[in-house]
Symmetry: C2
Subunit: 337 residues, 2 copies
């Protein structure tokens, strides 16, 4: 893939200490890809110095004097920090020097700046955030995850289109299945917005499965699950809370006394394989969809392995023409200009 | 507790085979309580015959010739099955022979019949369903769980009042904390309904904590979590799906080969203690709130142990004056007639 990815190296909890090694690992695993590291000159030079630069012109630096803080209000980050690493990385996508941008920084600021710089695609009212969750069968893409709290049926339809195109680009599925998150399988269930969205999705030409329920997310019933940002955020955060509680309980029971600790030691290989299967780092990289450019958000706490997954997803989306796919589908439906 | 509980013995996946032994266990553990078993004469006599009856007049039978099926539409169950075990159990609460009813049957029918027979309390627009979830600290009560999909702020306020009174009655907490499920802690977050509900809860006289997020449910941040029925249903079903997936993965990793099976055997005591801590049977018994009588819904798949927990919760709610507590609070707020 001859794609160029711009990386906001200053974002996230760890900054260049994570983003630079992740970029190096990505370049090693993708011999045709290029990366532009964006950040404070001194910080980048130091990080590059520590890991060496053996990639020639495949790896370049772009200085940016400012950094968007995790608690910067989006509007402030957008208006006052015009030379932030986040903004410069997205500017590189806008001007065509890069085909995708990745950041582990402030989500609200990333969405606001991306929307301001790149603009939305024809026919898309609101960008959405699509995250990946592990399932019994593999993985599923859920959107929206918090960007849009009061949705119209048309927005949910647009989320369905964008999610399906993302999965077709990144997972190479021809006609991914799309489910509408609801409180029952029957079409008459749910609130008025969801009922109407179901009708729109049914006639959309997408591979629409119908309603799915909360447990279908982890059953992997469909490749894409569509919901408004309020419901999606609650589903995601509730999952995080439950997973953390279960992990805590499991750890406590295996460290209760010397005997349990011995049990844990013996059971370690099985426990490790279990941990690997649900390792959230493998699912890192939420796409900001509906923009005229590929932008991927990494978890703020990502380590180098997790951040590399986010870069990989951004590169896949860009080299498999995600933006064009969404535009084509919107045009085919007659909803785009 | 000198309370009488009417039990719909025919409801649930197992009918009298589960409900009758659960009733016996409950009577053994609560020497002052009474139970009226409601169901088909032959089925009840057979079940009683199998377990014996050593409780004298503390255990009585009430014949009901019909059974509400799991797939009966609520309106049909209500209008055409006037001698169903579910209906007769609720009639017993209405006429004062029992102070609470418990059923593992069709949720929609149970809500429709309860509402029709018992009516709602003054000031309560819509009954709600409150379920119990395990948390790191103990447990939390979440409502609504699916009865109300399009809520006004006033409904969420009423849920908060009913949930707090339920916890004070059943868990003997003086001023339980109430959280409003939202997508951020700040009061400005969320959709318009939730923002306004936050304002109402703040001035309600309840011990209002403020906004909570999905992960706060399992952190046990508050004793009560309030949300509309759509969001509550998605949060609950998503949790069920995730828990099932994790249990499947854990089982698979511990049964992958002979070595893993040996590991599982050795680790069994710790795994068992873990399983006990998250055993959903302990949290069985969702309250139908806002009615002029105590009605508790058991999971359809409950076993005798789980069903006994539901009976216990119903008895606690009735003997600790749940209905009066809700009425008093509504009156104090000036919202009741």
């Amino acid at each position: 893939m001859g794609v160029t990815v711009a990386i906001d190296c200053m974002g996230g909890d760890h900054g260049p200490a994570v983003t630079v090694p992740a970029a190096r690992a990505f370049l090693r695993n993708h011999p045709e890809a290029r990366i532009i590291l964006v950040g404070r000159q001194d910080a980048l030079e130091q990080a590059i110095g520590a890991i060496g630069n053996g990639f020639g012109e495949r790896l370049s630096l772009r200085a940016a004097s400012e950094v968007v803080a995790m608690d910067d209000p989006p509007a402030i980050a957008m208006r006052t920090k015009k030379d932030s690493s986040m903004r410069v990385a997205i500017d590189l996508v806008k001007c065509g020097e890069a085909q995708a941008a990745v950041s582990a920084g402030n989500t609200g600021a990333l969405m606001a700046i991306s929307r301001f710089v790149l603009k939305t695609l024809p026919g898309i009212d609101r960008p959405a955030i699509a995250t990946i969750l592990p399932t019994r069968k593999g993985q599923t893409y859920v959107l929206d995850l918090g960007a849009n709290v009061d949705c119209l049926p048309e927005h949910l339809l647009q989320f369905g289109i964008m999610g399906a195109m993302l999965v077709s680009a990144v997972e190479h599925l021809d006609r991914p299945t799309v489910g509408l998150l609801n409180i029952g399988e029957e079409a008459i269930k749910g609130n008025e917005v969801v009922k109407r969205a179901g009708e729109l999705l049914k006639t959309s030409g997408l591979n629409f499965y119908g309603n799915v329920e909360g447990d279908d997310i982890y059953k992997g019933t469909t490749d894409v699950v569509v919901c408004d940002g309020f419901v999606g955020n609650v589903a995601l955060k509730t999952s995080e809370g439950l997973a953390q509680m279960l992990a805590t309980f499991l750890r406590e029971e295996f460290s209760r006394n010397l005997l349990s600790k011995a049990m844990a030691l013996i059971a370690m290989p099985a426990l490790k394989r279990f941990k690997h299967r649900v390792d959230h780092r493998r699912y890192n990289g939420a796409a900001l969809l509906g923009l005229r450019g590929v932008v991927v958000k990494s978890h703020g706490s990502a380590d180098a392995f997790a951040f590399e997954q986010a870069i990989h997803r951004a590169a896949e989306a860009a080299s498999n023409r995600l933006i064009e796919r969404i535009t084509e589908r919107m045009t085919a439906m007659g909803v785009a200009a």
